[in-house]
Symmetry: D4
Subunit: 248 residues, 8 copies
């Protein structure tokens, strides 16, 4: 609660427009719905401009259906990430309004779509194996109303594939660059453009990749400026941040 809001509330109490118990209630009230197994943060949309997104991987189907019902009742948009097709099927039986993107493994509940931005986010991958993570980023950004352009399989081992798509690349407002193994693609793009590059290391690889460590360290130590990094395989986080920047 920021100071201005507090002031208004206090004035209202002083004037008698608000009694004290109501005041206490109000202060507590812009917060969350208690489902027992989860506290749904409705205040979040007011506070950050973004609806709650649920990380689905470690939650039971029962809990996920319960959470989704809660949003369905309020006709609120909801994005649930990291859901396998099997688990989605169970959820869909309970709530037919849910939709699914199988590559991105994302479940959505969407009431009306935000107008799409004019400026776009470029989602670029080094290899075809980075596809799923990139789609999670793209789907997330689209869900929040951003125009997204995809460019896949343009990694550094055949760097001319990148340059051949330069016309497209050069006009983006923000870049999500997804790469596994040595994770070099964000460095190259970061050296060529004047817009923020969000680097997403993937766990694609084997051996000295150590589940994404090689790409992660490579991106963190990138010698190009304007590059920042999110967690390994965190397509959602990159899409969310790209949306935030694109809409500035």
């Amino acid at each position: 609660m920021n100071q201005e809001e507090l002031k208004k509330l206090l004035e209202s109490i002083q004037k008698g427009d608000t009694d004290i118990d109501t005041g206490i209630q109000q202060i507590k009230n812009f917060t969350y719905s208690e489902l027992g197994y989860a506290k749904i943060d409705h205040h979040r949309e007011l506070r950050t401009g973004y609806p709650e997104v649920v990380f689905g991987e470690n939650k039971s189907v029962e809990h996920l259906i319960g959470i989704a019902r809660h949003f369905q009742e309020r006709q609120s948009n909801l994005l649930i990430t990291r859901i396998t097709a099997d688990r989605y099927n169970d959820m869909h039986k309970a709530i037919p309004e849910l939709t699914y993107n199988s590559t991105a493994r994302a479940v959505m509940l969407q009431y009306g779509r935000p107008a799409e931005t004019e400026s776009f986010i470029a989602v670029i991958t080094a290899g075809t194996s980075d596809y799923a993570v990139a789609e999670e980023a793209a789907v997330t950004a689209s869900f929040f109303g951003n125009r997204v352009e995809r460019l896949f399989d343009v990694g550094v081992a055949g760097v001319h594939r990148l340059f051949n798509n330069w016309e497209l690349i050069k006009n983006a407002r923000v870049y999500v660059v997804v790469a596994g193994m040595e994770g070099a693609l964000p460095s190259i793009i970061g050296g060529l453009v004047d817009k923020p590059v969000i680097a997403v290391p993937t766990s694609v690889g084997y051996g000295a990749n150590f589940n994404g460590l090689s790409a992660l360290l490579g991106m963190l130590t990138s010698c190009a400026s304007g590059v920042s990094v999110v967690n390994i395989d965190n397509g959602f986080g990159a899409g969310y941040l790209a949306s935030m920047i694109n809409k500035l």
Copy 2:
């Protein structure tokens, strides 16, 4: 070289306005100055909108003076990072126009200042020990013409210090949040605001900090959205990226 530029050049050649050897020369020509020990990337400013910044830590004073002279002759702005006071003194004797910020350990050559942005970057630290890294970020952002507001020592162990400065915090356009040890401050701020948070882990700490690893991993796994991470102690990188976002 993008396609449009290539097309113009090719048309000029076809018309005979440009002969072939000149054409080859031009294609090679928007590039760099060769100093022998370094290739100064003048094309960079055209390409990315930012002048070359030199990472000073591993370069000899002789090389740094040579590079600075090169910019001095062109009356171009230059920022050199990670310079100790001793090394700066030697550089300053050779080029008196150089200025120095001792906390940020940054050397600058500045011909005219860009107009300051209206929107501002908030540079926030968890502890007083994160001061130097935060100053590097702030000085970098200022150098590129951004308004910067500082808020230091508001880490999670006394979280009310953060809330007491909420009025300032809430209006920033982008956040640079610097923290060592468990690196939790970016998560809290990221959960409260709707603007990008650039998290900078510092190597401040001991024991299980492992030279910044604890803060780095904590920031990468932040459960708040809108947070991305740069390298340990990389104040410059955070300031540069913040500038890029602030000026969008």
Copy 3:
């Protein structure tokens, strides 16, 4: 064997009240029961005030039944941790008096309950995914006779959820704080209260979480005082220690 006990035994031998072979036997006797595959430490309850607890994960069902029978015969309380539902079913068939908490994955044999403490242990989680580990802590503490209050899903990305439950939180005698990913919640709580905080890192997460390493390092380097850490996912250890402190 402490000195006082030794003195009494020696005096009894000197007086002839105890013969030598009996003396040797007694010294060896406050120790354990030999099951071949395990040595059950009955002396432990005398020595530490707590009954033996069995870590069930790597033991065969046959051995676990054998151990449980041994306690059943003595009508002693027993807690077995880390048992899947399948394995519990096999155990229950053999010993119908066993009970099971499926979330905590804990098997219990309980003859009479200790009186519940007045002061309480607060078991708090950052996310809903930390639920199972937290339940193991809560069930353990309850088993030993402690009043337990639970507060789940109040992590730092929506820190107001924590403050809205302050009334409950502030009155605990000891805190068990369970968190994965960046593990920041113990730092915040540790900065607000004047009671011991036992931090439990969980392996919930992905990528740079590295199976709980990020939360573990974050908690160890917490800048709040009064925080100590147990092993990753070690809900039992936290509940046990919290009981020990609560009963001081």
Copy 4:
């Protein structure tokens, strides 16, 4: 701010006893003193019952003197940790009331001493090399008014040295056990006593010790219950937590 305090303040405002600007001021007011380079958390003592302790290692002598002056003016107790003798000498010249414990590397400002507790904290080390870290723990606990008993050099390679001091050990209310290398001592003590054991890994060792990692991992995986762990070499944290538990 907890709900009760808020209620009282709101009632006072409603009655007109407190005007609105004063109300805002009061809410902000239980906080900190701003020194520019640091925010001193006076609210902490009210909130947690403990005065601010300053981690001295990465702060300049000028800043440390400034902070100490601030406490001196208020005649408040202050503990500064990790100060070398050289730096202390400079501080002492500025503020002669400061005292120093050279083994623990701790600087103190102490106005009146709290009454010493009857129950005591046992501070135990595995080797003589763990002496400095143990002293930091002991000095911290004493500073907060606890009776402390020391037992040094009783590590597992000569485990009879531990048993010979059993009379002393068995009566403590809480244990701080300091060990480097394999860090096994907390496990043994934890298996014998029924009170909390705070394990402090030290960076004493070489090779596979990896700066304290071996002791840290050993303590975290201790097979004894009732053991929790603080950061490598964190004598202060252990002493602080031991005091918190001892005073329950």
Copy 5:
């Protein structure tokens, strides 16, 4: 080939007792049998006094049967480690003379038994979970003709269980001490005895155990002398080395 053997061969050639092609053949001849997929080192028994032992984990059943047949034809003893019951059954069908120890997961082909040594090897474990690794050590040592005494579940969290078996322990000629988690048992035993202690870390544990790393580092940094370490879970290696020392 050592010098003495070479000398004899050369003399035989010089005298004409051995022709040159035979000489070359003989030099190559004390070596191995080529199975295509493996080179069986018959020279090994002459060279080191021990028959070849086959690490079975990564080999196909077909190859293992082929290798075993080769020994069967020569009526030579053979030990194959790390074989699951399923794979053993397939091998046994092909070669009925094979026997199996299911705990140790060891397959044996044994023609006559070596006389058992008088002196014995003590195989000791910290917990019941270390049972399988300890049995691999014990079975290996027995296979090579050593008397073995077992003592299981005497870890440091109930150290009196160790002392109660002191009579047995003190008379061993060499110790194999198997422990997971913090791996402290070898340090205690090493501090009490004057014979070599071979420490075997196990991967038993979770969290900060990191698949045996905690026990491994703990054993390597043991503050007791006379302790050396083999690979994680390497019961075979410990049993082999113990046999070598016991038979000196």
Copy 6:
């Protein structure tokens, strides 16, 4: 595109032999075929002399069939690595011309064979468990037209097996040496020969092997000169590089 090629193209445009749009097309044209899910780099064979090789592990069977069809239509050679037998069967049904090496897990499409080189590549393993990785190297090198000689199971624990095959070894032009565990074999061979040794660490092993880390670090720190290292289990990479060197 190198300068010479650019010059020819520009001259052709200047003369009017090539119009501008065609020129642009041609510059873009020596590149790749767009399959949507992949960009097949036909330019690669011109650029590096080697056909595209596809890393099959993380690609769907549908995509792999699509890629293979693309090469089938052009009657181009294709090598796909890391394909299990099950997946190969599905691919073979769609494209009967595909062949398979089950040990190397390699799928091939081969139109005409390159003439085999006279000089040969020696592929050597330390153990029989390193067989699969070595076969991947050997099959790759054969596919590109190299003569390959195999020598398996000659690791350092029976070093005479290596010397007995010296006649073969000494004549190779380049060595691929595959080893797990301590990875010592490349050091020994590197100390004996005057040709390049490509060391391939394998993930064969357990415990302190840490999925190939021990072999990887051992090979990187080899005290023999002329040794370089590829990724853990990267038989393909070693075979490819060996071919490149053999054909110089």
Copy 7:
């Protein structure tokens, strides 16, 4: 205290030959001398057959002199390891009977020499840089009365240097093999001999050596049997263990 000793003591008490207070005293009595800063374990020599050895690295010169005086008064042998020449000089001024081996960095106090064993310990290094660690092993073994033969600089990159000294090597009773970098030498020797090999990894190297990690992991995963490992640079531990085995 083993059972037999306890029995004798109890009988003596029962007969009245020993009174109770004396009995308690005797039980406590076979222990240590208390120096305040250290507990000297005189019982150790009785218990393990070896005098106390002091790890000197982290102790003050004052403490070391105090400890040495204590042994000097008893005319007991003493070995202090890891002492720089400077620190030795200060110790020598105080106690002129101390002697020093500067390569091994070992300080000795020696009253009479044990008769040298007939069988010998071979101390072998891979490189000249492993010299200091090897000397610590050799000096330790000599101090305890063992015949020691040295063989330096016979690493695997020139493996014939090892074979040329085979005559010496083959007759040892136990091997201490010291190596840095890839640490392969113990594997080779272990494959050739039938006696125990104690492997000592050294921190000699750079880069992927990671302060001895590469050699440590290599030795732990050695494919030769009969090899065990001590801590990085732990020459003392290897010499001590070798002596223990040699004297069996």
Copy 8:
């Protein structure tokens, strides 16, 4: 000793041309000179075609002078790496024929120069900070008679600098590519050329570079074929291997 040489020797013995003691001597004789502190491997030049190179970092100046004298007497070429200017000065006083390259930190003794190869090795760096490591590679290759072309500061953040030097790059026979931080340059070059690329990670960087780990892992997981890796900062190893390949 290979079979052919053995055969000749045996025939000579059989014929009586060589007596037995001489035969033994000859077999031992193609080996090394014993300096006590080192075994100089003269056989190496015969065996591998390269003279001994001495890694100077951990050796005393006395030993280095001794080794150099040994070569001086034989008028043999010698290369000593990793020598600081101070140590070189001491060596030069003793042996004035020694020369020094201060950037590469290499000491040389050179009697006649080998003819320079026609084909050349390209030594390329990503940044100016990788200069010293690259020079070590270049000086090593030159010492062995190779033509070397240098190209410095062409890293991926300004990738056009690389393309502008394509004319030079494309004609090399083998590449040594030196890079710190994310180590991406070898991937790009490897994707463009058809010759072997030797990647050298450097420890240049900070934070998540972890002393070269980021570059090392990046290079090992390079998605370009034809790339192999040597140890961090191992310029010598890369130059040596490049020479071996260039001279094939």
